[in-house]
Symmetry: D2
Subunit: 283 residues, 4 copies
């Protein structure tokens, strides 16, 4: 019988003995470490980040969950979380009118490649409903009237709070308020259609065309109150040339956007991403 696998993610101030303490504790509880990654921002006085995959019986896993805090986590001043490898993250997707990022996520979730189940797609437009419904996922239309942003955010929060583990903005063309981000209570991942920090803000492909760049890119990042400034999870680029007008840049960029966003979501759902203040560790 295959033993259930649990992911353990730890961060704390770096100090001697962490790996020994964690691995000793796990070994004592009969867990086998089948994968492990660690990073120290600075061996003397920096931050320490650790991700492990443990195989253990359900009883041992329960004991580990109960005892890890008092025996290891608290003595070392750790922040930690555990997540069963077999449990998909509940994913809510916000979109507007373009479908490429949304469809890529729905399709990967259906294939089982994302480590997530999509529990809701919400949009400020109706146009994507027919693309979503064949996937058997609820589609919620939450229009944003002029001056009605607050009401729209309330409507979204009513469906999102406690109902999802992560929110993904799949080219959602609305800026979410700081209050929304606080109240939604789960990480929010966005894709920006440029290689940040280049071309912050509106219409980056037009900016890219005007600047005459030879590469365009996309960036997936956690959303924070400051626009396009949250911790970067993943970026990629594609080559363009003088032959590509703004429409061609948009088409080429769409392929990069969906790949970058899908990678970021998959890594997040596999608990491979740890926020380190303004940046991320991706194991």
């Amino acid at each position: 019988m295959e033993l259930p696998i649990t992911r353990l993610v730890v961060s704390c101030h770096d100090q001697p003995g962490i790996v020994s303490a964690v691995s000793g504790f796990l070994h004592a509880h009969g867990a086998n470490i089948i994968d492990s990654s660690q990073h120290s921002s600075d061996p003397s006085g920096g931050e320490f980040y650790l991700r492990m995959e443990l195989a253990a019986t359900p009883e041992a896993t329960a004991a580990i969950e109960e005892r890890f805090g008092p025996e290891v986590g608290e003595p070392f001043g750790m922040t930690w979380r555990m997540w069963p490898d077999a449990r998909p993250k509940r994913l809510a997707i916000l979109a507007s009118k373009v479908d490429h990022c949304l469809l890529d996520l729905l399709w990967r979730a259906r294939r089982g490649d994302l480590g997530a189940e999509v529990v809701l797609v919400a949009s400020n437009h109706e146009v994507l409903r027919p693309a979503v419904e064949p996937f058997g996922v609820p589609f919620l239309h939450v229009p944003v009237a002029t001056g009605g942003k607050e009401a729209a955010e309330e409507a979204l929060l009513a469906h999102l709070v406690d109902a999802c583990d992560v929110v993904v903005l799949a080219r959602y063309m609305q800026i979410l308020s700081g209050g929304f981000l606080e109240r939604v209570g789960v990480p929010v991942i966005n894709v920006h259609h440029s290689l940040l920090p280049a071309f912050v803000g509106a219409d980056p492909y037009r900016q890219a065309r005007e600047r005459g760049v030879k590469l365009i890119g996309a960036t997936a990042h956690y959303v924070t109150a400051e626009l396009d400034a949250g911790p970067i999870i993943e970026q990629d680029v594609t080559r363009v040339s003088h032959r590509d007008d703004v429409a061609a840049l948009r088409r080429a960029g769409a392929d990069i956007e969906r790949i970058v966003l899908s990678r970021a979501v998959a890594w997040h759902c596999a608990d491979r991403v740890i926020r380190t203040g303004p940046a991320t560790v991706v194991f």
Copy 2:
């Protein structure tokens, strides 16, 4: 016997009949078009760019050089230039203390891969002299004393004007004045160690580290009076991660810098780059 090859580069307002006029003229003079690239920024009322390689006898080539202007160039309001494929461009390189871009250019020139001969390396420091001299290239030390930028530029101009066809800044850590750019009279190519327009100015790898980017890049561009804002010739990136501190980013970036700069110089020397105002066409 192989016929000598000449490169013809043309730009003008787009209008019907350009290709027909150029190719008809060349055919009438016995030249064979062995390679041709063209681009229109906008078929109705944009700019037209053309690069051709012609094979013709020396007599036919001389006649083409004499007659192209009055018969084709002037009637269409063209800007044009011709360059014999066999004649290397005379390259002057300015450097400071780091050697990676400089050595890459010297190696490639020695191998005959650059379409250029290096006629001079000038530096504001002595440290690169031993790296340069084994190549048999003159090394000129032009120190820049505090407040002595003007004098240093005069000294450089005395060696550069009429002595080179292009100046390359191989990580030259001085900002050249608008007056210098004007008086030097040839294109100046720089490499900036970021994927412009991200991280303009000083220490881009530190900026990149602080922003937590997942790709770093380099940009080769023509130098204009505005810092790091000239027309981009080439860009490329390499993947980095949380494991890379600023020193590691610098090492990884050095490889991208030298590849990007060498490509840009080779393309320039092959007359494959045409400036289009703020950007470039690269054929």
Copy 3:
């Protein structure tokens, strides 16, 4: 009013005066050349390839189509074809059980990014029917019984001949006979899940894992009677590591396969690909 655009694709033995003759003919008929690419395999005695986009009135276009052969094509011994830019190619897709390449083509066709309309999806299995039908595209189930390959090919031919301009094998796991390829009368494009010529034949990801490669790739090519040996249209790779088992290679490879196949189909549908015997020119 925007003039209709026509694509002209030419190949012939290289000889002086081709560009002059073609562009002179087009100019005389009032057509404006808005894009042009050419290639000579060898300036002395090789093959010449040309692709142009012409803007001309419908009347001028009709005259060009009628007169190009006798006035230019035949005197130069050309092979040529013309295609209206506005007319989508009719695309028939053959698939088996995996959906990633198929869905990518259906999405792109629906977005209008492919220059094609999908007229038929045929499969030797029923499993992809629910994925296809939301797109409003006919789904044809053509099972291949043991020993029944000939009958299956007949059934396919009955639906394909004269009904499509190109056939795409979107991970169709059947080898088509030379007779089929001949009778279907249109180009057939396949995607092979390796960077050909590495890993010809079955289960290339298992072969790649066993060889310990650090990059895996995919190849889109025209199908010929010899397995996986037809002219390559496009290839790309993605980085893998010792962490990736065969299933992970398959997942990573699926992304490359669909991108490579979609690019190849889009380029083919834009008449940007010319076969040159065992290889291709892609303009």
Copy 4:
């Protein structure tokens, strides 16, 4: 004061308790684990690979080196090695006539980017002597007369055995015998100018041109008795097109070759590469 750093590389059959035993042992000896990577080929019954960087006083390091075997290595049936981070690997380079890979290694070693000092360059030709001598590295000419391969290998072995920690073939155009590989007693790294397993053997760029591939690559691998079949360390590619003749492929390939080989050598010298039978783990 910064503590000296030691690299520990371990492989053994996977079994519970390895990480706990290693990290407990190290913690008990006062060593701090500042970096750690591990991989299991298969959690149930596969192979386990581990690389750690330890910071410890010289006394503690000596004790670890003495006690690791009896206390941890032998009980778990491990293969292990330790290497001081500060000690460069002694590198011997064999080359023939082309200089790009050789120069790249010499230059990186001089910059201190390679974790190696070059103790010898040997070549079967004299032509590279002037390129090597400015680096202050001994150049040894070992001609290979017809029928004189055995004598040449003896001459090389006389200079290599016990004098270097790794041998690098920087486009050395001679096939080394199995006997040589055995007697030299250190790993031998080669770069092959194709993306293996495509285009094994002679003149891969000509093979690539004939096959019409759209990407060319290079492969760095450990040399084994079977030609071009040893464990792959690193691979990379670059895009090519129908415009590139064999000479252009060679030029483009040279850039990939030197980057791939330099990466492989740097990783090897940092003890980041572990052979796993036919393949490698690269941490």
